[in-house]
């Protein structure tokens, strides 16, 4: 493995680890606030206990997210100094604003977690809302920096390097809005499903447990609403990518030859050497239609650029299929949930339904990971699309394989520990519930 691949894998594992906590940081505070609010409205004490239990989750995941976010801000400099030297002044706005949002999130979370008995109820709830707002703002701002890497604007690039820098234009790049909406919805969908899934698991062990029933319904409602809207945002994202990064779209869809009236692959394993796709189903006209709203539209294929400049086709294609497949599955589960809630609420406690939700715990996060693989791998070989190649940004420091190995060990340990702490937190909450009767 060469240094470039090791550095890319290290960055990928760090982003892949952090994104889970970033999603939780964006969406989980809102669940905690919703439960608190329902308690204040209805006086039903189970929602107070639910809010307290979720707040503990927010606390531990926020703290780990702060740590993994620190890792990322170090790694940007440790692995990609060539990128940071030029990109820092251009995309500094979203980073510094994100720092502000993160700071406010930390303070508000401190107030919410420890202020239950010390603050007036309204102020306490408001501090929770601020946690949620700042969490979403921080996520959306970081996405702006990624949007810029995919759709770089706000500078002139010539032989002398970057000039005429306009950080505001860079922040408001073309990719930002679509990426930010897609990411925010993904956070709410994945966290809603994951939280509901954990409660479903516990309900299978302890049927009709009050807290878990309330938790499952509230979290799944939030997750389902986000999952149902997500396809619209996905469609906008695909059209945006078709405009800005046609070769990323071509890699996602294993579309090798430029043509009109192009079909869409569902599933399949591409072979970039023979330029074919095996085991897939092709729906005629659909890619042209989805990308350009016209079944006859021309879609550029990978043949337009030299073979060496292709993004890794297999990875992009498979990741994209996984993301879309899971998204569709989540829409299906969402429709089922809403229908059951409306017509057959008693079936919401049926073990088969609980099993379905329990097994869906990780699916949202898998889709989020797959989506980020599409975004990041699909941008290769560029770190700043069309401007700077990833290898140009790499540190001259040798032996990145070692730091990759250390990074992987650290993430493995952290994951195991988080799992342990999290299980014990749930057991603790259940013990307290039992005491409440």
């Amino acid at each position: 493995m060469d240094d470039l691949l090791a550095a890319r894998l290290q960055m990928a594992s760090s982003l892949g680890f952090h994104i889970v906590f970033a999603c939780i940081g964006m969406a989980m505070p809102w669940l905690m606030v919703l439960a608190q609010w329902r308690w204040m409205r209805t006086g039903d004490a189970v929602y107070l206990r639910l809010s307290k239990a979720w707040a503990q989750g927010v606390g531990v995941f926020f703290a780990v997210g702060a740590v993994s976010g620190t890792i990322l801000s170090f790694e940007l400099g440790l692995l990609w100094p060539g990128f940071m030297e030029h990109a820092g002044p251009i995309i500094g706005m979203p980073f510094s604003l994100e720092g502000t949002a993160f700071f406010i999130e930390a303070i508000a979370l401190g107030l919410f977690l420890y202020g239950r008995e010390r603050l007036a109820p309204g102020l306490h709830l408001a501090s929770g809302v601020v946690v949620g707002l700042a969490g979403v703002a921080a996520g959306v701002l970081v996405v702006s920096a990624n949007g810029w890497m995919n759709s770089p604007t706000g500078f002139t690039y010539g032989p002398e390097g970057f000039s005429d820098i306009d950080p505001i234009a860079a922040m408001l790049n073309d990719a930002w809005a679509v990426e930010a909406v897609h990411m925010t919805l993904a956070a709410f969908a994945s966290v809603g499903f994951a939280v509901a899934g954990v409660h479903a698991f516990r309900l299978l062990a302890r049927p009709k447990h009050q807290l878990h029933r309330a938790g499952l319904r509230l979290a799944l409602t939030v997750g389902v609403l986000a999952a149902l809207v997500q396809p619209l945002s996905g469609d906008r994202s695909a059209k945006s990518v078709a405009q800005r990064q046609p070769m990323k779209l071509a890699a996602m869809e294993s579309h090798f030859e430029t043509g009109t009236e192009v079909g869409l692959w569902i599933g399949g394993i591409p072979n970039p050497e023979t330029r074919t796709v095996k085991y897939g189903v092709r729906i005629p006209y659909l890619l042209s239609l989805l990308a350009f709203s016209d079944p006859a539209a021309e879609v550029k294929g990978l043949e337009e650029i030299p073979r060496g400049d292709w993004p890794p086709v297999v990875v992009c294609h498979l990741a994209f299929q996984v993301m879309v497949g899971i998204g569709t599955l989540m829409v299906g589960i969402g429709a089922l949930f809403l229908w059951l809630r409306w017509r057959r609420p008693v079936l919401l406690d049926h073990p088969k339904f609980l099993w379905l939700i329990a097994l869906s715990t990780p699916v949202g996060f898998i889709a989020v990971e797959a989506g980020w693989i599409v975004t990041e791998v699909g941008r290769q070989p560029w770190i700043i699309y069309g401007i700077m190649r990833t290898e140009e940004a790499l540190t001259p420091m040798p032996g990145i394989q070692v730091s990759l190995a250390v990074t992987l060990i650290v993430y493995g340990l952290l994951s195991a520990l988080i799992f342990g702490v999290f299980s014990r937190q749930i057991a603790h909450v259940e013990r307290e519930e039992a005491e409440h009767g």
Binding site: A63, G82, E85, L113, I168
Partner: protein, 349 residues
Amino acid sequence: MADLILAAIGVSLYLYMLFGGADFGAGILELFLGERAEPYVDRALSPVWETNHVWLILAMVLCFVGFPLAFTTITTYLHLPLLLVLLGIVARGAAFTFRHYDPAPGGTRVWYNRVFRASSLLTPFFLGVTVAAISGGRLNTRLGDGFYAVFVAPWLGVFPVTLGVFVCSLCVFVATAFLAAERGKEAKGGLHYLRFARRTHLLSVVSGAIVLVAAWVDEAPIAAEFLASPIALTCAVLATILIPLIAWSFHEARVSWLRVAVSAQLALILAGYGVTQYPVLVRLADTPDITVNLAAAPQVTLCLLAGVLGFGLVLILPALFLLLRVYKLRQIPEVSRHPENPAPNPYGD
């Protein structure tokens, strides 16, 4: 404008040394005091600990947006000590979080403690090593010289190591002084903290003196420039004058004086360092040093950055004030009434 951003970096590093340093020091303190210190450390840190490390992130963001060349030079050629700092921050943050949130840690608690304490010592040590290497004038940017000469030798020297030790002892001193300030008025146990703080003060004064000697021995340019700069010398003199004042505060148990004097002494040490360095950001061995003018981002970036900073301060300062007020001020009497209070139960009751 570049100077304003630089000043902001200095202030956030100062706040990091003060609050984050107290965090590290508390962990090092546990190394010495063991289980006895733990409830107080946990109690003193828990509600605000997440915010303390944000100061380092803030300094880093200001640096890579405002002075990208300085940032990338540091991250490239001091990759290894920074990686160790990072590992320390990760291990420490994780261990502290799990220790705090784990409702039934059982046997893992021993490991949380060990990792927390060890990383509390290693992180500030390598931060000190990194800072020394940045100003030591040994950074070698000729990649052809080989791995050891470029990536190891510049930070593996007498001056960096002594500065690392000095930073650690400062952390312990700040932590013990703050703990003593909080608990010094107690009849029982308070004197213990005051005595301990006095000893750590002596430790930091001695290790600070050793740093100056080491810089001179190591021929770090900072030693000569320190002596040549009147402002830096004034800072040093003022910091020295504070030593007897702090000693007096210990003796008389004047805890509010102690708090102010310790904060001021730390500020003077950092200001003296900054003034000596200015306008150099990173000292290199052969090539010209990286100065403020060389590294500064375009004016428009710096102005916007200053704008964001001002906007952020308007939002953050009142919130931070509220947080500190709600917790620090109301919590301490509660602890004092129950000196044998166990670690707080984050789950409420």
